[in-house]
């Protein structure tokens, strides 16, 4: 029974992953990616990784829900009503994908991995907690700091207010003004006669 469930989840994960790049709507693609993640989470639960499986299920459900918002924002094919084929170098991509699969499959078939299965009744969640708060705490804390840095970086990158001023977020990389006190024009930028001072860039000379 567990074996059947494993193959059902495994095939579903692969098919959903394939359909991600074969659907006409980026929103549907996101939900298909979520389906692939949920099936992998179910496999992790079958393997005995209760914490890993549940963490993946919850995390990916939230992450993909957020991703859908971005997909709606960037979708150039509303509602997927028109055929969508935004691809390039399809032959190279297919060859690389098949080569990666063949390499992984060859390793899976030919390698002689140690046969050390998970002992029945092992307290895997308690052991993970002890590991995270014990010997591997530095690694765990480093991951936490990296996530905080990511949050700060993401806010800075996506903020309309850039480091070059309140309204410069839409203007790209304007060089800084020479004299912040007087608001003088950036280096290499001369004022246009009727311009207010915003919205033009370097290159005038």
């Amino acid at each position: 029974m567990t074996g059947v469930a494993f193959w059902v989840f495994g095939v579903a994960a692969v098919v959903a992953g394939w359909r991600v790049f074969r659907t006409d709507s980026m929103v549907r693609a996101t939900f298909l990616l979520l389906a692939s993640f949920l099936n992998v989470g179910a496999i992790l639960l079958l393997l005995g990784g209760a914490y890993l499986g549940m963490a993946l299920l919850f995390m990916m459900t939230v992450e993909m829900t957020v991703m859908v918002i971005f997909m709606v924002a960037f979708m150039m094919n509303p509602a997927g009503l028109n055929p969508m084929n935004m691809t390039h170098q399809p032959r190279l991509a297919a060859v690389a994908g098949w080569a990666a699969f063949a390499g992984g499959a060859a390793v899976a078939w030919r390698s002689n991995f140690p046969d050390r299965p998970l002992p029945a009744g092992k307290a895997v969640i308690a052991e993970l907690g002890t590991e995270l708060m014990g010997r591997s705490m530095l690694m765990f804390e480093t991951a936490g700091v990296a996530l905080v840095a990511t949050m700060i970086g993401a806010v800075v990158l996506s903020s309309r207010r850039s480091r070059y001023g309140q309204d410069a977020g839409d203007d790209g990389s304007l060089p800084p003004v020479l004299d912040p006190a007087t608001g003088a024009y950036p280096a290499g930028v001369l004022p246009e006669p009727e311009a207010s001072g915003h919205g033009h860039h370097g290159g005038h000379s």
């Binding site: 393997l47 005995g48 691809t87 591997s136 970086g153």
Partner: protein
């Protein structure tokens, strides 16, 4: 259910992700390809932990770190897409073929 079967499925997910990451023009779809590759990595890590590492907790830690990497990739990736779109009004990889504006 075996280690070989799990690694086969993980390889398929990784290959599909690589196919999408290399073949998609949209940067957000490219990010989805990378996420699918990390999905395969997590499955392979979980399978190795369950079948070849005797339930050693460091195996679970490896999968947790892969999850953190995926979160970082998505957050920074989308922030870069937003910043690039603000600056150059492009969301396709072809629009980013040079550093000059």
């Amino acid at each position: 259910m075996s280690l070989t079967a799990a690694l086969l499925i993980a390889s398929a997910l990784f290959g599909l992700g690589l196919w999408g990451a290399l073949g998609q023009q949209s940067i957000v779809m490219l990010l989805m390809g990378i996420e699918l590759m990390i999905n395969g990595v997590m499955l392979a890590g979980g399978a190795m932990w369950a079948y070849a590492a005797g339930g050693e907790p460091k195996g679970q830690l490896l999968v947790v770190i892969a999850m953190a990497v995926m979160a970082v990739e998505m957050a920074v990736g989308f922030a870069i897409v937003v910043a690039v779109y603000r600056a150059r009004q492009v969301d396709l990889t072809e629009g980013l073929d040079s550093l000059a504006r």
